[in-house]
């Protein structure tokens, strides 16, 4: 039963010419790509953001022209392009997809349309690095799930920082959060070359190839794409496109012509469940980060939330307003944006937090707003007579709060706060956007290389459950411990 859920690359509908007939009947070739931070491949035109431009937009137009149809771009996150192709979201992937054994295990790939290399990018004036080996012991930023990430992880000894986009990598390089970055040459040419603060170090190395991804069953479509690319290369159209985007180099034509196909791996899909001894420890490493971030940020949220609630309930007017404003702003805006602003925005104001600090801060500040409201509801649920009785005994307002009202309120707020803790625990996966590699990020990285979304997903879900269930049991236990209304 579970097997049928595995993305097998071979679906029930195995007619070899289905897609090319569909494309011709439709008159449209749907190509999948990610335009977010996608320059110079595919990105919104800064002068007319409704329109996409980029060298791959030009290639798609030329390719579709050869097939006698119109191109239509389908936006999809880069991590998920291969899986989305398999699911049938579009006909081809055309978005800097490297021809690698991993990709060939999952989908078929055309002959290359571009030969790329890796480029080391450093801050201007930093001449200490010339070769990839020089990166050992340094903090190096790479794009998530990129060839650069694989090269550095394979080499070992490098503190690899994984970024969701290239803009963020260059920004952190300038902010000195990382020492260098390794990226595909087209990306380096577009983002780093024009930046006066950044510089290329050493020569490009590690040639690789971008190819068009096609579903394995679409053999006819693959042949058509291969023929079209060969024709574009022969006619000089490809060269014109690359010259236009400043991506042409002397070796390009030679490399594209002399390309020898990569052998697809023999065995099909990896079953991560069967090889759990390899994969589970990797996931557990991510889980440790998740637990650390969750506990620290919840501690911050509980402490700050109490202060906010007391300020809102008992503060003088300006304090009350400030607290209310804080709560409304942090509850009313997305956590993701808060994380981006804390990590990438604050350095502009001279506050430079590590990604771990920013993750704890972001989650803690956000959840403090929710905890403040929990506390407020809990404190207001305590009858006024309790405060009055304490005051009438000569206690100060603060003593009455601390000794009489809060101990009763705590018991009321334990269920909603433990709920929030479990929610925070899962929300902690958002911090991957600021380069924290926690459980969900590890899952994503492993899944995009093994394509076993189901097996890894089951393991990851089991880890989350194994961590959150005891948390809710502990909350119930504490609630029982604090019981005082005996019948």
């Amino acid at each position: 039963m579970a097997l049928s859920f595995l993305p097998a690359g071979v679906s029930a509908d195995d007619t070899p010419c289905a897609t090319i007939q569909e494309v011709e009947a439709r008159g449209v070739l749907r190509w999948g790509a990610d335009a977010e931070g996608g320059a110079p491949y595919v990105f919104p035109d800064p002068r007319n953001p409704k329109r996409y431009i980029g060298f791959e937009v030009d290639i798609a137009r030329a390719l579709a022209g050869r097939l006698g149809v119109r191109p239509q771009m389908v936006q999809n996150s880069w991590d998920g392009l291969v899986s989305a192709l398999d699911r049938g979201s579009f006909d081809i992937v055309l978005n800097g997809l490297e021809i690698t054994p991993e990709h060939l295990g999952q989908i078929a790939m055309s002959r290359p349309y571009y030969a790329y290399t890796q480029q080391i990018v450093v801050r201007k004036g930093d001449g200490s690095m010339r070769r990839v080996e020089d990166l050992k012991g340094l903090r190096v930023g790479v794009l998530s799930a990129s060839v650069a990430q694989r090269i550095l992880e394979g080499m070992g000894g490098v503190d690899v920082r994984v970024y969701p986009g290239n803009v963020e990598t260059c920004r952190d390089l300038k902010n000195k959060r990382i020492d260098a970055s390794l990226m595909d040459l087209p990306i380096a040419l577009h983002y780093a070359k024009p930046d006066p603060a950044l510089d290329f170090a050493g020569k490009p190395f590690a040639v690789g190839y971008y190819g068009v991804g096609v579903r394995k069953k679409d053999t006819k479509l693959l042949e058509a794409v291969d023929r079209a690319i060969a024709a574009l290369l022969a006619s000089g159209e490809l060269k014109r496109i690359y010259l236009k985007w400043g991506l042409w180099d002397a070796d390009q034509e030679r490399r594209l012509r002399r390309y020898s196909p990569v052998e697809p791996p023999k065995e099909g899909n990896v079953s991560t469940l069967r090889e759990w001894r390899t994969f589970l420890p990797l996931l557990l490493e991510g889980a440790v980060v998740t637990v650390e971030i969750s506990f620290l940020s919840m501690a911050l949220a509980i402490a700050l939330g109490l202060a906010l609630a007391l300020a809102k309930l008992f503060g003088v007017t300006p304090v009350r307003w400030a607290s209310t404003a804080y709560i409304e702003v942090f509850r009313g805006t997305p956590l993701l944006i808060q994380l981006y602003m804390i990590y990438y925005g604050l350095p502009n104001l001279g506050i430079r937090l590590s990604s771990f600090e920013a993750a704890v801060m972001g989650l803690g500040l956000n959840y403090a707003a929710y905890e403040a409201e929990n506390y407020r509801a809990g404190i207001q649920a305590i009858p006024e007579g309790q405060m009055e009785a304490a005051l009438s005994l000569g206690m100060t307002r603060w003593q009455a709060l601390r000794r009489v009202v809060l101990p009763q309120a705590v018991r009321i707020v334990i269920p909603p706060i433990s709920n929030d803790f479990i929610a925070l625990f899962k929300d902690s996966s958002l911090v991957s956007v600021i380069t924290m590699v926690e459980l969900t990020k590890v899952y994503g990285m492993l899944a995009t290389t093994t394509y076993d979304y189901m097996g890894l997903g089951l393991m990851t879900a089991a880890i989350y459950l194994a961590l959150s269930y005891p948390a809710s049991l502990a909350a119930k236990f504490i609630e029982r411990k604090l019981r005082y209304d005996f019948d």
Binding site: G385, A389, S392, L393, G394, M395, R403, L482, F486, D487
Partner: protein, 277 residues
């Protein structure tokens, strides 16, 4: 002991207390009666500063607090805390701290406010529990006690601060009739020991037996005051007579059968009808 001079308070144009003046001697027991909304509870709450007042002067012992146009001076505000710790208050709804046992309720204020040692506070708390007849309930939580027991713990809790004055705000109104007597017994004992007590209550047996003076309030004013037996027998105001009629039990079949005083109802009937009080 207590001196109230020209005390006024209003909630949104509604005059709750209208120029009240009252003097109470040390060891005197005063019972305040009046229809609901007459301001008697507010008067008590103003005395221990749970409620601020707009105009007037309140003196308890050697502490005086003055208000003008609803404002207190900073010095007077600092006095509020001291004043409260010298005035014990017993609430209609007990207001015990539900997360503390009986003994913990009693030691709370001595330990946090007076910084008394835990051991000393517990020893005194057990004496107080003994005094209110609950020495065996020290470690019970309020939810494990009957209403009457809770109110007696509340009295012990107030006494633990060694107040100079005790205020009672309808202490038995929330109790079933059979539980009231235990609380009233404690209050009688307290009065007999010479405690200065200001009591808002409808318990006319307590008023008859213990009150040195009775005060009848209506619409934020003191309409009538005087010794209890005089007010029962011959109230000066028609309103007082009417009110007493409503809170005293209707004619009882047993009335007049026994000697005066052996049945509460009978006695009151007698008092009201001007019989042999």
């Amino acid at each position: 002991m207590i001196s109230i001079e020209n005390l006024s308070k209003s909630f949104r144009h509604h005059e709750v207390l209208d120029n009240i003046s009252l003097k109470q001697d040390k060891a005197e027991v005063i019972v305040v009666i009046g229809p609901s909304g007459c301001g008697k509870t507010t008067l008590l709450r103003c005395l221990n500063q749970l409620e601020t007042f707009d105009e007037g002067k309140v003196t308890i012992g050697d502490i005086t607090i003055c208000a003008r146009h609803g404002h207190l001076s900073r010095a007077d505000r600092d006095k509020q805390l001291v004043l409260r710790s010298r005035v014990g208050m017993v609430f209609q709804s007990f207001n015990l701290f539900p997360h503390m046992t009986a003994v913990e309720n009693i030691i709370e204020a001595p330990v946090t406010v007076k910084e008394m040692s835990q051991a000393m506070a517990v020893k005194r708390a057990l004496d107080l529990l003994n005094k209110v007849g609950l020495e065996d309930k020290a470690d019970f939580y309020p939810s494990q006690l009957s209403g009457g027991q809770q109110q007696r713990v509340a009295i012990a809790r107030a006494l633990a601060m060694e107040p100079e004055v005790m205020l009672f705000d309808e202490p038995t109104s929330a109790l079933d009739p059979e539980l009231k007597e235990d609380v009233l017994r404690v209050m009688r004992a307290l009065a007999n020991e010479g405690m200065t007590m200001l009591v808002v209550t409808h318990e006319m047996s307590f008023a008859r037996d213990m009150a040195d003076r009775m005060v009848f309030m209506e619409k934020g004013r003191i309409l009538e005051e005087g010794p209890a037996d005089v007010m029962f027998r011959s109230p000066k105001h028609e309103r007082t007579r009417e009110f007493l009629k409503t809170i005293l039990p209707k004619k009882s079949f047993k009335a007049g059968n026994g000697k005066p005083g052996d049945s509460r109802q009978a006695t009151f009937e007698d008092l009201l009808s001007g019989g042999d009080g």
